[in-house]
Symmetry: D2
Subunit: 344 residues, 4 copies
């Protein structure tokens, strides 16, 4: 089969690989019909996340189950399904608590040996190690482009909002309007945010945020702090989301939050950071970090997508073939795309 593989920083290519086969009771093989390029794929592309040359990349996919182990009960052969970006055993301490994203034996598709050696989904077929938890049936009539978001980007937006304890009527600030930030904007509005202040420095992204119902504020041209004060009687926001993963965004979020407010960092951190603990202390903040528990969120996110409350289609800027992977990555790297959907 054809599969997009990492070769070296800045270089991906379409390789021929053997089709995967089911080799355990919890596994399934899915014939991929749509697969996305994600911001975290760029970390691999840039070499910041190290993976083995030749490893198949990609972790967003929609397709059809072509075979399944005899322990697979939640989906069947022939089902049209979407996949979550990660796997989970369902039985370890963390899974028993519902923290599937912290599964002791879980991994992430297409991220090489350090994240579980699970070959990626930018391929004609993908082997899913834990089908019961990772896969869900696509609701009748839902477009691939929509379903693709349930297992990663929109699940992450939903995570930021619900983990942050947002309540209907709250005001939310989102720093960084890549696909995850924009999904957080939409999820916040869907969950009843009275106002969302969305901050970035890219005009196109601000425009999408505005179309999602946010007060879009340009990071430099506008006055994010003033906008937040004006929207909140000077108090600060109930929830501030760092959708970038950079200390400057975290600092902005800490400054934006009201006393006793929440800060959720869903942008990826790998290093130490200088954090204004004095401000966090004086304001009694709650700061949460980490990847989204997408397996936990995928059911309600699918309900919201099916009912049209959430609709990520404006984020899909490009449709390309799997054979165009090299160009797709280059395009994404130039920040010319929000979401690229590739079709094998």
């Amino acid at each position: 089969m054809k599969a997009v593989t990492f070769q070296a920083p800045g270089e991906v290519r379409l390789d021929d690989k053997p089709e995967p086969e089911v080799d355990g009771p919890q596994q399934a093989v899915v014939r991929v019909e749509a697969t996305g390029v994600c911001g975290s794929d760029l970390h691999i592309y840039h070499g910041r996340v190290k993976i083995e040359p030749g490893f198949t990349i990609g972790h967003e996919f929609v397709g059809t189950v072509v075979s399944a182990g005899d322990g697979v009960t939640t989906v069947s052969e022939g089902d049209r399904v979407l996949g979550c970006f990660c796997t989970a055993c369902g039985t370890c301490f963390f899974c028993r608590h519902g923290w599937f994203h912290k599964c002791d034996s879980g991994g992430v598709f297409g991220h090489g040996a350090t994240m579980g050696s699970i070959q990626g989904a930018q391929a004609e077929y993908v082997l899913v190690p834990t089908a019961n938890l990772t896969l869900r049936r696509v609701p009748e009539g839902m477009h691939d482009d929509v379903a693709l978001f349930a297992g990663d980007v929109m699940g992450t937006g939903y995570h930021a909002v619900t983990e942050g304890g947002m309540r209907p009527g709250d005001t939310v600030a989102v720093f960084g309007l890549g696909p995850v930030g924009l999904c957080a904007v939409q999820a916040a509005r869907a969950a009843g945010a009275a106002r969302v202040i969305a901050v970035d420095s890219v005009e196109d992204r601000l425009a999408v945020a505005a179309s999602f119902g946010a007060d879009a504020v340009h990071l430099e041209v506008g006055d994010p702090r003033g906008a937040i004060k004006a929207a909140t009687d000077g108090r600060g926001v109930d929830l501030a989301i760092d959708a970038v993963g950079h200390p400057a965004a975290l600092d902005s979020a800490i400054r934006a939050a009201r006393k006793q407010g929440a800060v959720v960092a869903i942008g990826v951190y790998a290093e130490h950071a200088d954090v204004h603990m004095g401000l966090a202390f004086i304001k009694s903040l709650t700061v949460k970090a980490g990847l989204a528990n997408v397996i936990r969120h995928v059911d309600p996110v699918l309900e919201l997508l099916a009912s049209g409350v959430l609709d990520p289609r404006p984020l899909v800027t490009h449709h390309m073939g799997l054979g165009d992977a090299a160009e797709a990555y280059a395009t994404y790297d130039r920040r010319e795309a929000l979401k690229i959907v590739m079709t094998p």
Copy 2:
């Protein structure tokens, strides 16, 4: 001043009464500019809730502060304000926990001696015993008809949804589509319900619910149970709201909820009821009853009203003068109105 008083079951009239005066540091007097007739006023009108003849009734109001005690800090003379339906001391055990609706010395406007002897708001002026907690400034530009809902009916809809632990993506059933039930429909959608099944037997109310985004199902002509099963893969709803206050509605809610689901009874109960505890047990339900904690909810509800996420104006079917109170009550009693707003 003119004030609407209860005289006998089925009889209210406009009386002359002395204007109230501030007589304590926490008090304020509000000149009433709009006041609503509420379903609970009907309980008084029908004689089911006993109050003293001559007592001023009504508990929904918008107006202007004309005087305030020296302990009043959250509003000032001249402020345009809305009132919550109840009072709260802010310092007792229950208020310290934020359960203002259960204040040890709290009362309800216009409900006579059994609920604190607080003269009602269907009058030219109303004395507010605990202004700091009961009153809020009306946001700039908000219509009286909108603000009026924040202190009672929409606060109750918000309560049903948030107390019920609803999460974005959930499916909610609402039994009973009077103003409270309809506000619950709107609040559920605002809070991210993927689907709301709204059940009543009055076509007009079903139509309003549908316009608020609900799947409206006629209690007898339609098939509520079938609709709920179809919407939830046969599971039942995450949250079922009894907005009637009748054992049949409670029973419907208990049957509608999924295993480990929530039932919130915001319709008023005063008596024993036959409850299917066997079903509640086998499904591990959580059942919550009681009046809304409107003082707690009024801030986010105002935010949602100000931003347009919530909009109760379709519920306002009549505008009348205070002098038309007798006719207003008779109209409401004939179920010809959803919300009547009276202007002094």
Copy 3:
């Protein structure tokens, strides 16, 4: 092997049955070393819960894994384990939410066809259908009598307290001091209840409750309502637990709870009941019913048992052989025992 079977109301006997064998990847066979007689076994003994004659009964067990399917990862052959009273698939909608007790394909050991046709644990061997979730390793050095409680009775006490949202410093009332009620007393104290009022009419049980730190009050001789008022400044308790499963106990719990308090009914209900909804409404109560989610609680309960914070050994009044099952049931039926541990 030898197994205790139900024959007819009031009649159980030791039968010879074939040893169970593992026949699926999630299964395990446990050689039973201790098994308890539980209050719910009495429902079967009395014929109130209908099961097939000849069905093996019992659902509390400690023993050693003798064989396991290849999907069993949390325990291994040779491990000394305890069992939860129920099974859970780990992958259905309810299990994914951590509500293992409401698993769509779950069942209860020893309760016949209506609860999943899972042969019971009062036998030399028991087949466990979902070993990963149902079984846990017994911590080093823990006595069988202690471990036996983790999978059922103490888990239920823990459930009542934590589901009820008890916070350190709260006052709790427990109505009914069978083993579950007494475990609720101990769990409440362990979780920081400042006071527990324990109500029953059996002196011995009151004495055990007192030894667990409760204020023990005789239902008729004492004055439960007065004791509750005295302990709470007249407010009522923060959490009231119905550990009986009888409308009179539920009514007592509803009366005992303070405004905005919680009532947890862990005694079994199968029928309609007359419930004072008026009181529940005026006090804004939360009422929760249902079996305990023991699979969820078993880890922290084991931690508390291992550290000695919880110690159910005073509840073990009898040790008997499996061959004495008929006598054990008769003894338990005469209320002469709290917990009978049988050894195969």
Copy 4:
């Protein structure tokens, strides 16, 4: 009256000051009968927290109400009361949410102009600006030394545990065993921690922690990380408390917590800190910082103290007169005391 005043770093003295008088409806004057020296007083003593020379210091007190404004309802003249360390209006946005420690007009006793200009409690009399929320009656029979802890140090220990979402059966690590850390140890055990690992480098403090039921581990001589791993199957603790307020303690807490665990920083932070966000991200931690909401916690803490579940008396190492204040501060500064109680 006599009052302990700050003069200069390292210098406090007993001054004569006029007795305070009630000058507002929410105020009360308390005749102080016991007052503590607290770790945060040392910040003033060291000059790190700047206050005006001549300002009366101290914020822990027990005494008798000698006069009260006419808006004071929760206590009366003649009542023996304890005070919380801070004041709260009860009506602002934050107070309405129960976040009394973040009151928009709140202050801290004895901390000078930057924290509300509220003269301190190390004096013969103290003026309490918001008596309803700040004062509580001392339960019958409770010793001054015990009651003194309810309004500050034990309330802070309780805060760390409950804000951290600790559940019965959890394992907790406490870094820093000053009075607050030791109270956190006791509160954690009271709330059902199966194990508490308590870390410090002072032998006496480790001994007190051990007597409170902790596994006491010397920071340098022992192996805190090894102890935590051994106690948690290598997972890390459910809740890690930084009771120091130093980046090294915060780092230890972040390293000690399990995936999806909580870190609560109750030690004071005023500056930026280097935080291992990468670790916080990969482990999906929740980090909470800030002063304790003691007004919220004082009721349950008093219940726990009254019932003997909590008992801080082992922390009281010195009783001195108000006239010995200079010596008291010097003693405390030399770390020769845990809690010094002064009597006017």
